[in-house]
Symmetry: C2
Protein backbone atom coordinates (compact mmCIF):
# COMPACT_ATOMS: atom_id res chain seq x y z
CA UNK A 1 0.00 0.00 0.00
CA UNK A 2 2.69 2.49 0.93
CA UNK A 3 4.29 2.21 -2.50
CA UNK A 4 1.00 2.66 -4.29
CA UNK A 5 -0.16 5.73 -2.42
CA UNK A 6 2.04 8.40 -4.08
CA UNK A 7 0.91 7.17 -7.48
CA UNK A 8 -2.69 7.28 -6.35
CA UNK A 9 -2.30 10.83 -5.13
CA UNK A 10 -0.80 12.01 -8.38
CA UNK A 11 -3.36 10.18 -10.46
CA UNK A 12 -6.25 11.35 -8.34
CA UNK A 13 -5.37 15.02 -8.59
CA UNK A 14 -6.66 14.99 -12.15
CA UNK A 15 -9.95 13.40 -11.09
CA UNK A 16 -11.00 15.94 -8.50
CA UNK A 17 -13.27 18.80 -9.42
CA UNK A 18 -11.39 21.53 -11.19
CA UNK A 19 -12.98 24.84 -10.27
CA UNK A 20 -12.57 27.88 -12.51
CA UNK A 21 -9.45 29.85 -11.63
CA UNK A 22 -9.45 33.63 -11.84
CA UNK A 23 -6.69 36.21 -11.85
CA UNK A 24 -6.71 38.89 -9.15
CA UNK A 25 -8.50 41.24 -11.56
CA UNK A 26 -11.23 38.72 -12.38
CA UNK A 27 -9.98 37.23 -15.64
CA UNK A 28 -10.63 33.53 -16.19
CA UNK A 29 -7.48 31.44 -16.51
CA UNK A 30 -7.43 29.29 -19.63
CA UNK A 31 -7.72 25.68 -18.39
CA UNK A 32 -4.42 24.08 -19.41
CA UNK A 33 -5.77 20.56 -19.75
CA UNK A 34 -9.19 21.08 -21.30
CA UNK A 35 -8.35 18.64 -24.11
CA UNK A 36 -8.41 15.91 -21.44
CA UNK A 37 -11.86 16.92 -20.22
CA UNK A 38 -14.98 15.09 -21.36
CA UNK A 39 -15.81 15.76 -25.01
CA UNK A 40 -19.47 16.64 -25.51
CA UNK A 41 -19.64 16.91 -29.29
CA UNK A 42 -18.42 18.75 -32.32
CA UNK A 43 -20.20 20.46 -35.15
CA UNK A 44 -19.02 21.95 -38.41
CA UNK A 45 -19.95 25.26 -40.02
CA UNK A 46 -21.82 26.41 -36.93
CA UNK A 47 -20.09 29.75 -37.72
CA UNK A 48 -19.52 31.00 -34.21
CA UNK A 49 -18.51 34.56 -34.87
CA UNK A 50 -17.19 33.97 -38.40
CA UNK A 51 -18.18 35.57 -41.65
CA UNK A 52 -20.55 33.32 -43.55
CA UNK A 53 -18.97 33.29 -47.00
CA UNK A 54 -15.50 32.48 -45.76
CA UNK A 55 -16.92 29.93 -43.35
CA UNK A 56 -18.72 28.04 -46.11
CA UNK A 57 -15.57 27.71 -48.20
CA UNK A 58 -13.61 26.40 -45.22
CA UNK A 59 -16.07 25.73 -42.42
CA UNK A 60 -14.74 25.68 -38.88
CA UNK A 61 -15.25 22.82 -36.46
CA UNK A 62 -16.32 23.53 -32.91
CA UNK A 63 -15.38 21.07 -30.17
CA UNK A 64 -17.04 21.35 -26.78
CA UNK A 65 -15.43 19.98 -23.63
CA UNK A 66 -16.75 20.01 -20.05
CA UNK A 67 -14.84 19.68 -16.79
CA UNK A 68 -15.24 16.01 -15.78
CA UNK A 69 -16.83 16.45 -12.34
CA UNK A 70 -19.54 18.65 -13.88
CA UNK A 71 -20.13 15.97 -16.52
CA UNK A 72 -20.61 13.31 -13.84
CA UNK A 73 -23.02 15.58 -11.97
CA UNK A 74 -25.05 16.10 -15.16
CA UNK A 75 -25.32 12.36 -15.72
CA UNK A 76 -26.93 12.04 -12.29
CA UNK A 77 -29.18 15.11 -12.29
CA UNK A 78 -29.64 16.30 -15.89
CA UNK A 79 -28.48 19.77 -14.88
CA UNK A 80 -25.23 21.54 -14.16
CA UNK A 81 -23.63 22.08 -10.74
CA UNK A 82 -22.32 25.45 -9.63
CA UNK A 83 -18.86 26.17 -11.10
CA UNK A 84 -19.47 23.95 -14.10
CA UNK A 85 -17.02 25.02 -16.80
CA UNK A 86 -17.13 24.46 -20.55
CA UNK A 87 -14.62 25.12 -23.28
CA UNK A 88 -15.57 25.75 -26.89
CA UNK A 89 -12.57 25.17 -29.13
CA UNK A 90 -12.89 26.38 -32.73
CA UNK A 91 -10.58 24.89 -35.34
CA UNK A 92 -10.06 25.42 -39.03
CA UNK A 93 -10.78 22.51 -41.34
CA UNK A 94 -8.94 21.02 -44.29
CA UNK A 95 -10.06 18.70 -47.08
CA UNK A 96 -9.07 15.08 -46.82
CA UNK A 97 -7.37 14.23 -50.10
CA UNK A 98 -4.65 11.64 -49.67
CA UNK A 99 -6.94 8.65 -49.30
CA UNK A 100 -9.23 9.96 -52.03
CA UNK A 101 -12.34 10.89 -50.10
CA UNK A 102 -14.42 14.01 -49.71
CA UNK A 103 -14.25 14.69 -46.02
CA UNK A 104 -12.96 17.48 -43.86
CA UNK A 105 -10.80 17.20 -40.78
CA UNK A 106 -9.67 19.57 -38.06
CA UNK A 107 -6.49 21.62 -38.14
CA UNK A 108 -5.29 24.64 -36.13
CA UNK A 109 -7.11 26.35 -33.31
CA UNK A 110 -8.62 29.73 -34.20
CA UNK A 111 -10.42 30.46 -30.97
CA UNK A 112 -11.03 29.18 -27.45
CA UNK A 113 -13.99 30.39 -25.42
CA UNK A 114 -15.19 29.37 -21.98
CA UNK A 115 -18.56 29.40 -20.23
CA UNK A 116 -18.88 29.19 -16.44
CA UNK A 117 -21.92 28.68 -14.22
CA UNK A 118 -21.61 30.68 -11.00
CA UNK A 119 -24.66 32.35 -9.48
CA UNK A 120 -22.65 34.46 -7.06
CA UNK A 121 -20.04 35.69 -9.51
CA UNK A 122 -22.50 36.38 -12.35
CA UNK A 123 -25.64 37.70 -10.63
CA UNK A 124 -27.19 38.83 -13.93
CA UNK A 125 -28.11 35.31 -14.95
CA UNK A 126 -25.65 32.96 -13.33
CA UNK A 127 -23.47 32.36 -16.37
CA UNK A 128 -20.35 34.07 -17.69
CA UNK A 129 -18.54 33.90 -21.03
CA UNK A 130 -14.85 34.47 -21.59
CA UNK A 131 -12.52 34.56 -24.57
CA UNK A 132 -9.45 32.62 -23.42
CA UNK A 133 -7.90 32.18 -26.87
CA UNK A 134 -4.70 33.89 -25.80
CA UNK A 135 -4.63 33.05 -22.09
CA UNK A 136 -6.62 34.66 -19.28
CA UNK A 137 -9.74 36.42 -20.54
CA UNK A 138 -12.02 39.13 -19.16
CA UNK A 139 -15.70 38.48 -18.62
CA UNK A 140 -17.47 39.33 -21.87
CA UNK A 141 -20.02 42.13 -21.42
CA UNK A 142 -23.72 41.33 -21.18
CA UNK A 143 -24.11 42.94 -24.61
CA UNK A 144 -22.12 40.10 -26.23
CA UNK A 145 -24.20 37.90 -28.54
CA UNK A 146 -23.43 34.73 -26.60
CA UNK A 147 -25.61 35.77 -23.66
CA UNK A 148 -28.72 36.40 -25.73
CA UNK A 149 -28.27 33.39 -27.99
CA UNK A 150 -27.62 30.96 -25.13
CA UNK A 151 -30.49 32.38 -23.10
CA UNK A 152 -32.99 32.02 -25.94
CA UNK A 153 -31.94 28.90 -27.82
CA UNK A 154 -30.44 26.37 -25.43
CA UNK A 155 -32.11 23.12 -24.44
CA UNK A 156 -30.92 22.84 -20.82
CA UNK A 157 -30.12 25.87 -18.67
CA UNK A 158 -27.66 27.99 -20.63
CA UNK A 159 -26.13 25.13 -22.64
CA UNK A 160 -26.74 23.72 -26.12
CA UNK A 161 -27.53 20.21 -24.91
CA UNK A 162 -29.53 19.67 -28.11
CA UNK A 163 -26.16 19.38 -29.88
CA UNK A 164 -24.64 16.97 -27.30
CA UNK A 165 -26.36 13.68 -28.11
CA UNK A 166 -25.32 11.73 -25.02
CA UNK A 167 -26.49 14.51 -22.70
CA UNK A 168 -29.71 15.09 -24.63
CA UNK A 169 -30.75 11.54 -23.73
CA UNK A 170 -29.95 12.22 -20.07
CA UNK A 171 -31.94 15.47 -20.05
CA UNK A 172 -34.92 13.73 -21.64
CA UNK A 173 -34.79 11.01 -19.00
CA UNK A 174 -34.47 13.51 -16.15
CA UNK A 175 -37.08 15.92 -17.51
CA UNK A 176 -34.74 18.90 -17.50
CA UNK A 177 -35.28 20.18 -21.04
CA UNK A 178 -36.49 23.80 -21.02
CA UNK A 179 -40.18 24.34 -21.83
CA UNK A 180 -39.19 26.81 -24.55
CA UNK A 181 -37.06 24.14 -26.20
CA UNK A 182 -39.87 21.59 -26.05
CA UNK A 183 -42.53 23.98 -27.36
CA UNK A 184 -43.52 23.51 -31.01
CA UNK A 185 -42.02 26.00 -33.46
CA UNK A 186 -44.26 28.91 -34.34
Amino acid sequence: MKYVLPTLLIATAAMLAQDPQFTSDGQLQKPANYREWVFLSSGVGMTYGNATAQAEASPAFDNVFVEPSAYRAFLKAGKWPEKAMFVLEVRRSAAETKIGKSGRYQTQVIGVEAEVKDSKRFPGGGWGFFDVSNGPGKLLPQSAACYTCHSQNTAVENTFVQFYPTLLDVARAKGTLKPAFLAPEK
Copy 2:
Protein backbone atom coordinates in the same frame (compact mmCIF):
# COMPACT_ATOMS: atom_id res chain seq x y z
CA MET B 1 -5.67 10.95 5.48
CA LYS B 2 -7.67 7.90 6.49
CA TYR B 3 -10.92 9.57 5.46
CA VAL B 4 -9.56 10.64 2.11
CA LEU B 5 -8.15 7.29 1.07
CA PRO B 6 -11.38 5.49 0.07
CA THR B 7 -12.33 8.41 -2.14
CA LEU B 8 -8.87 8.36 -3.67
CA LEU B 9 -9.15 4.68 -4.41
CA ILE B 10 -12.51 5.04 -6.09
CA ALA B 11 -11.44 8.08 -8.06
CA THR B 12 -8.16 6.49 -9.07
CA ALA B 13 -9.73 3.35 -10.48
CA ALA B 14 -10.86 5.38 -13.47
CA MET B 15 -7.33 6.74 -14.00
CA LEU B 16 -5.49 3.44 -14.22
CA ALA B 17 -4.79 1.85 -17.54
CA GLN B 18 -7.86 0.16 -18.96
CA ASP B 19 -6.64 -2.83 -20.94
CA PRO B 20 -8.76 -4.30 -23.73
CA GLN B 21 -11.15 -6.95 -22.39
CA PHE B 22 -11.92 -10.04 -24.46
CA THR B 23 -14.62 -12.70 -24.23
CA SER B 24 -13.54 -16.32 -23.84
CA ASP B 25 -13.86 -16.76 -27.62
CA GLY B 26 -11.69 -13.75 -28.40
CA GLN B 27 -14.25 -11.05 -29.05
CA LEU B 28 -13.38 -7.54 -27.91
CA GLN B 29 -15.75 -6.16 -25.29
CA LYS B 30 -17.16 -2.77 -26.20
CA PRO B 31 -15.60 -0.30 -23.72
CA ALA B 32 -18.55 0.98 -21.70
CA ASN B 33 -17.05 4.37 -20.90
CA TYR B 34 -15.25 5.31 -24.10
CA ARG B 35 -17.09 8.63 -24.21
CA GLU B 36 -15.07 9.60 -21.11
CA TRP B 37 -11.76 8.74 -22.78
CA VAL B 38 -9.56 11.40 -24.35
CA PHE B 39 -11.06 12.83 -27.53
CA LEU B 40 -8.52 12.98 -30.36
CA SER B 41 -10.56 14.68 -33.05
CA SER B 42 -13.56 14.47 -35.29
CA GLY B 43 -14.02 14.76 -39.01
CA VAL B 44 -17.05 14.98 -41.23
CA GLY B 45 -17.79 13.16 -44.47
CA MET B 46 -14.75 10.94 -44.10
CA THR B 47 -17.16 8.23 -45.36
CA TYR B 48 -15.91 5.31 -43.36
CA GLY B 49 -17.71 2.48 -45.03
CA ASN B 50 -20.64 4.53 -46.29
CA ALA B 51 -21.95 5.01 -49.79
CA THR B 52 -20.69 8.30 -51.20
CA ALA B 53 -23.91 9.81 -52.56
CA GLN B 54 -25.89 9.26 -49.40
CA ALA B 55 -22.97 10.41 -47.32
CA GLU B 56 -22.68 13.71 -49.17
CA ALA B 57 -26.35 14.52 -48.60
CA SER B 58 -26.03 13.77 -44.89
CA PRO B 59 -22.35 13.34 -44.11
CA ALA B 60 -21.42 11.35 -41.02
CA PHE B 61 -19.17 12.61 -38.28
CA ASP B 62 -16.43 10.38 -36.92
CA ASN B 63 -15.22 10.91 -33.35
CA VAL B 64 -12.02 9.22 -32.22
CA PHE B 65 -11.32 8.50 -28.56
CA VAL B 66 -8.25 6.88 -26.97
CA GLU B 67 -7.90 5.17 -23.62
CA PRO B 68 -6.37 7.83 -21.31
CA SER B 69 -3.23 5.96 -20.19
CA ALA B 70 -2.29 5.37 -23.83
CA TYR B 71 -2.82 9.07 -24.50
CA ARG B 72 -0.47 10.03 -21.69
CA ALA B 73 2.13 7.57 -22.97
CA PHE B 74 1.89 9.11 -26.46
CA LEU B 75 2.45 12.60 -25.06
CA LYS B 76 5.73 11.39 -23.57
CA ALA B 77 7.01 9.19 -26.41
CA GLY B 78 5.16 10.10 -29.61
CA LYS B 79 4.19 6.47 -30.08
CA TRP B 80 1.66 4.05 -28.68
CA PRO B 81 2.19 1.58 -25.82
CA GLU B 82 1.15 -2.06 -26.08
CA LYS B 83 -2.60 -2.51 -25.45
CA ALA B 84 -3.39 1.00 -26.63
CA MET B 85 -7.06 1.06 -27.56
CA PHE B 86 -8.99 3.45 -29.79
CA VAL B 87 -12.67 3.86 -30.49
CA LEU B 88 -14.05 5.33 -33.70
CA GLU B 89 -17.63 6.44 -33.18
CA VAL B 90 -19.60 7.30 -36.32
CA ARG B 91 -22.69 9.49 -35.96
CA ARG B 92 -25.26 10.82 -38.38
CA SER B 93 -25.46 14.58 -38.80
CA ALA B 94 -28.36 17.01 -38.94
CA ALA B 95 -28.62 20.57 -40.21
CA GLU B 96 -28.65 23.34 -37.64
CA THR B 97 -31.71 25.43 -38.40
CA LYS B 98 -33.23 26.92 -35.27
CA ILE B 99 -30.66 29.65 -34.80
CA GLY B 100 -30.57 30.34 -38.55
CA LYS B 101 -27.12 29.12 -39.51
CA SER B 102 -25.76 26.64 -42.00
CA GLY B 103 -23.93 24.17 -39.83
CA ARG B 104 -24.26 20.47 -39.13
CA TYR B 105 -24.24 18.78 -35.75
CA GLN B 106 -24.02 15.20 -34.53
CA THR B 107 -27.00 12.96 -33.86
CA GLN B 108 -27.37 9.20 -33.40
CA VAL B 109 -24.59 6.62 -33.46
CA ILE B 110 -24.46 4.50 -36.62
CA GLY B 111 -21.32 2.53 -35.87
CA VAL B 112 -18.63 1.93 -33.27
CA GLU B 113 -15.29 0.40 -34.23
CA ALA B 114 -12.22 -0.29 -32.14
CA GLU B 115 -8.52 -0.63 -32.89
CA VAL B 116 -6.10 -2.33 -30.49
CA LYS B 117 -2.30 -2.51 -30.48
CA ASP B 118 -1.10 -5.89 -29.23
CA SER B 119 1.94 -7.56 -30.81
CA LYS B 120 1.29 -10.92 -29.17
CA ARG B 121 -2.40 -11.16 -29.95
CA PHE B 122 -2.13 -9.85 -33.52
CA PRO B 123 1.14 -11.30 -34.85
CA GLY B 124 0.32 -10.30 -38.43
CA GLY B 125 1.14 -6.67 -37.82
CA GLY B 126 0.46 -5.94 -34.18
CA TRP B 127 -2.89 -4.24 -34.65
CA GLY B 128 -6.45 -5.57 -34.62
CA PHE B 129 -9.77 -4.02 -35.70
CA PHE B 130 -13.18 -4.85 -34.26
CA ASP B 131 -16.74 -3.80 -34.95
CA VAL B 132 -18.24 -3.28 -31.51
CA SER B 133 -21.36 -1.42 -32.67
CA ASN B 134 -23.64 -3.96 -31.04
CA GLY B 135 -21.49 -5.15 -28.16
CA PRO B 136 -18.57 -7.60 -28.25
CA GLY B 137 -17.05 -7.91 -31.71
CA LYS B 138 -14.91 -10.49 -33.47
CA LEU B 139 -11.51 -9.59 -34.84
CA LEU B 140 -12.06 -8.35 -38.39
CA PRO B 141 -10.23 -10.50 -40.96
CA GLN B 142 -6.97 -9.31 -42.48
CA SER B 143 -8.85 -8.85 -45.75
CA ALA B 144 -10.87 -5.99 -44.25
CA ALA B 145 -10.10 -2.60 -45.81
CA CYS B 146 -9.09 -1.05 -42.49
CA TYR B 147 -5.85 -3.05 -42.32
CA THR B 148 -4.60 -1.98 -45.75
CA CYS B 149 -5.73 1.62 -45.43
CA HIS B 150 -4.21 2.11 -41.98
CA SER B 151 -1.01 0.38 -42.99
CA GLN B 152 -0.51 2.55 -46.06
CA ASN B 153 -1.86 5.96 -45.10
CA THR B 154 -1.31 6.61 -41.41
CA ALA B 155 1.17 9.14 -40.04
CA VAL B 156 2.28 7.33 -36.87
CA GLU B 157 2.33 3.55 -36.57
CA ASN B 158 -1.14 2.34 -37.54
CA THR B 159 -3.00 5.50 -36.53
CA PHE B 160 -4.21 8.57 -38.43
CA VAL B 161 -2.31 11.05 -36.29
CA GLN B 162 -2.38 13.49 -39.22
CA PHE B 163 -6.05 14.04 -38.34
CA TYR B 164 -5.41 14.50 -34.58
CA PRO B 165 -3.91 17.98 -34.40
CA THR B 166 -2.68 17.88 -30.81
CA LEU B 167 -0.90 14.55 -31.37
CA LEU B 168 0.53 15.60 -34.73
CA ASP B 169 2.46 18.31 -32.92
CA VAL B 170 3.77 15.73 -30.44
CA ALA B 171 4.82 13.33 -33.20
CA ARG B 172 6.66 16.12 -35.03
CA ALA B 173 8.51 17.04 -31.85
CA LYS B 174 9.40 13.41 -31.09
CA GLY B 175 10.35 12.52 -34.67
CA THR B 176 7.94 9.60 -34.85
CA LEU B 177 6.15 10.43 -38.12
CA LYS B 178 6.50 7.58 -40.62
CA PRO B 179 8.94 8.16 -43.49
CA ALA B 180 6.18 7.29 -45.97
CA PHE B 181 4.01 10.02 -44.49
CA LEU B 182 6.80 12.58 -44.67
CA ALA B 183 7.82 11.67 -48.23
CA PRO B 184 6.68 14.13 -50.91
CA GLU B 185 3.67 13.03 -52.95
CA LYS B 186 4.48 11.38 -56.29
